[in-house]
């Protein structure tokens, strides 16, 4: 068995609506794999099928070499799941959330307590062990959910939008913990609509849009393949940025007009900015930066990731 997840032509329909429209995915042991795409791209539907809580409508899906339609409980026994919306048990304490969850996997009480203490240490919540869940901050709840996903020592951890709704500091703490898991060799599968999250955590990712996969590769190879080395962001003091598009013609390889700015895709950002000045277009602001996955997404779909 080479792939932990093996999907071919995987489809999920809800009535007339097609959420996942025939995707091919292979996830190897030990890698951090990402589904990048905007809201409604079909990422969560895909994750629910992988987590064996949503039956596929069509196509092939094998998880850990087993069939989700038939071996759901056996597969779920080896998965860790961190859902998009926290569903911690608000009637239990922080520690009980882990020990009770361990019991659903048939882990002995003694072993459950041992793992709970170890995991609370890992997600830096040991001091809150006897607290209820509700007073915890969003970041703490998410870390507790990640700890809960680890309680059965899973072969693969599924994280659906692991840092959505968290403040920057809390996000970095979550990323740091996930990075540690990755270093320990845990296979991570995550969805995100944050390109920085995908760049930081994923070895390999697929870009999803409208239920389909539009590109696949490592963050670096995707940027190399679908974007230029650098980007110049220009803002003009006008309602109509597009009016400047013609005047910028010939600078760089490509140009994207957004409602509030124009993006120039170039090999040499500073050189391009000089050329803009030479044409006396006097933009209100000029920013030269490296290309990111956001640019890849924009190029592939003509839309931005986060609206």
């Amino acid at each position: 068995m080479t792939s932990l997840i093996h999907a071919r032509g995987l489809v999920k329909r809800f009535g007339d609506f097609t959420a996942v429209d025939g995707i091919d995915v292979d996830v190897r042991r030990g890698e951090a794999f990402g589904f990048l795409g905007p809201n409604g791209a079909g990422k969560s539907s895909t994750m629910r099928m992988i987590g064996c809580v949503s039956p596929p409508t069509g196509g092939v899906l094998e998880i850990l070499g087993m069939d989700p339609r038939r071996d759901g409980p056996a597969i779920r026994a080896k998965l860790g799941v961190c859902p998009q919306l926290d569903n911690l048990d608000i009637e239990l304490t922080v520690r009980e959330n882990l020990t009770t969850y361990a019991r659903f996997f048939g882990i002995s009480r003694k072993e459950a307590r041992r793992r709970a203490d170890e995991l609370l240490e890992f997600v830096q919540l040991a001091e809150r062990a006897d607290s209820k869940v509700e007073p915890l901050s969003g970041g703490m709840k998410r870390r507790l959910t990640i700890a809960r996903a680890m309680v059965n020592q899973p072969e693969m951890v599924l994280l659906d939008e692991p840092t959505t709704g968290l403040d920057p500091q809390a996000r970095h703490l979550v990323w740091e913990r996930l990075f540690r898991l990755k270093q320990q060799g845990v296979t991570l599968v995550l969805t995100t609509h944050y390109m920085d999250e995908a760049e930081q955590l994923c070895d390999r990712l697929v870009v999803m849009d409208g239920g389909r996969i539009v590109a696949e590769g490592s963050p670096r190879s995707l940027i190399e393949q679908y974007s230029t080395r650098e980007v110049v962001e220009l803002r003009f003091a006008t309602e109509d940025q597009a009016a400047y598009a013609d005047k910028l013609a010939g600078i760089g390889e490509r140009l994207e007009v957004l409602p509030d700015r124009i993006l120039l895709y170039v090999a040499d950002g500073d050189g391009a900015a000089d050329e803009v000045n030479r044409r006396s277009l006097s933009p209100a602001s000029v920013l030269v930066r490296r290309s990111s996955l956001e640019d890849v997404f924009l190029h592939l779909t003509g839309r931005t990731l986060v609206d």
Partner: protein
């Protein structure tokens, strides 16, 4: 033969173990506040027994059972209160609480990410409702016996019967909870429950009503429960009680099936 039977046994072991883990989760939530709920649930049938069974009973005198036996009014009412309390105990856990866990705190979504399956959640919740129900029933049976309304040997047989009543109503409650859409619908359930409580041969024998109403009453689950427990309590069992038992078993099977299917449909989309 062994290969045919073994996988089933093993899989049953798995189901039993996973269902028990759901029951165990509920036991972990037991906190001091919960005992207040428990006490009020226990007091209700006792208050009815004293006010109506004993109080009103003094004005009514004796009642003649369908088989012709004559019993005091308190003896007539007490087993009905026991059956009604088994119903109430089971329903309070499997309607309001179950609905909240499923639709609002998304508790089951978390559990379903583990090997536990929807039907195992239903079984675990039902078992939990029974833990509570049996405590109520046992306390009430002791009071009945101490008051001389039944005998100790009959009391021992009544207890498993109340368990059957609880299982049937608990399964029914879960099935209903998977069908209703909002908290407002609980008013309807409460009204239905109260109507059952008043008219299921609890305070008045169904023979006191016109023929059509009598048939209607005798078809209700609480009437079948009252009929079963009253027969056991007064020592007047007959073939009808087999019908009662079959009715309650069928109701339990139907309720569990509907609840399991609807939970799968709603939670595993």
């Amino acid at each position: 033969m062994v290969t045919l039977v073994m996988p089933r046994l093993l899989s049953f072991e798995g189901t039993a173990r996973r269902s028990a883990s759901v029951t165990e989760r509920n036991i972990s939530t037991l906190r001091s506040a919960y005992w207040v709920v428990m006490v009020s649930g226990f007091l209700e049938p006792v208050l009815y027994l004293f006010s109506i069974g004993v109080g009103v009973g003094a004005l009514i005198g004796d009642i003649t059972l369908p088989g012709g036996e004559v019993v005091g009014y308190a003896e007539f009412v007490a087993p009905a209160m026991l059956a009604a309390s088994a119903m109430t105990g089971a329903l309070s856990e499997t309607t309001f609480n179950f609905f909240g866990k499923m639709k609002f705190v998304r508790l089951y979504e978390g559990i379903l990410a583990t090997p536990v399956r929807p039907i195992e959640i239903a079984l675990g919740e039902l078992a939990w409702a029974m833990v509570r129900g049996v405590i109520y029933s046992a306390a009430f049976v002791v009071i009945m016996t101490l008051m001389g309304l039944t005998t100790w040997s009959r009391a021992v047989v009544m207890l498993p019967a109340t368990l059957l009543v609880g299982l049937a109503f608990g399964a029914l409650g879960m099935a209903v909870s998977t069908i209703i859409r909002s908290w407002q619908d609980f008013d309807l359930i409460a009204s239905g429950q109260f109507a059952l409580f008043l008219f299921s041969g609890t305070f008045v024998p169904p023979t006191a009503y016109p023929e059509v109403v009598r048939w209607l009453i005798e078809a209700t689950p609480l009437y079948r429960s009252v009929d079963l427990i009253r027969a056991l309590s007064t020592g007047t069992t007959g073939w009808t009680q087999l019908l009662d038992v079959a009715y309650l078993l069928a109701l339990m099977a139907l309720g569990l099936t509907v609840a399991g299917l609807r939970m799968t449909k709603q939670l595993c989309k």
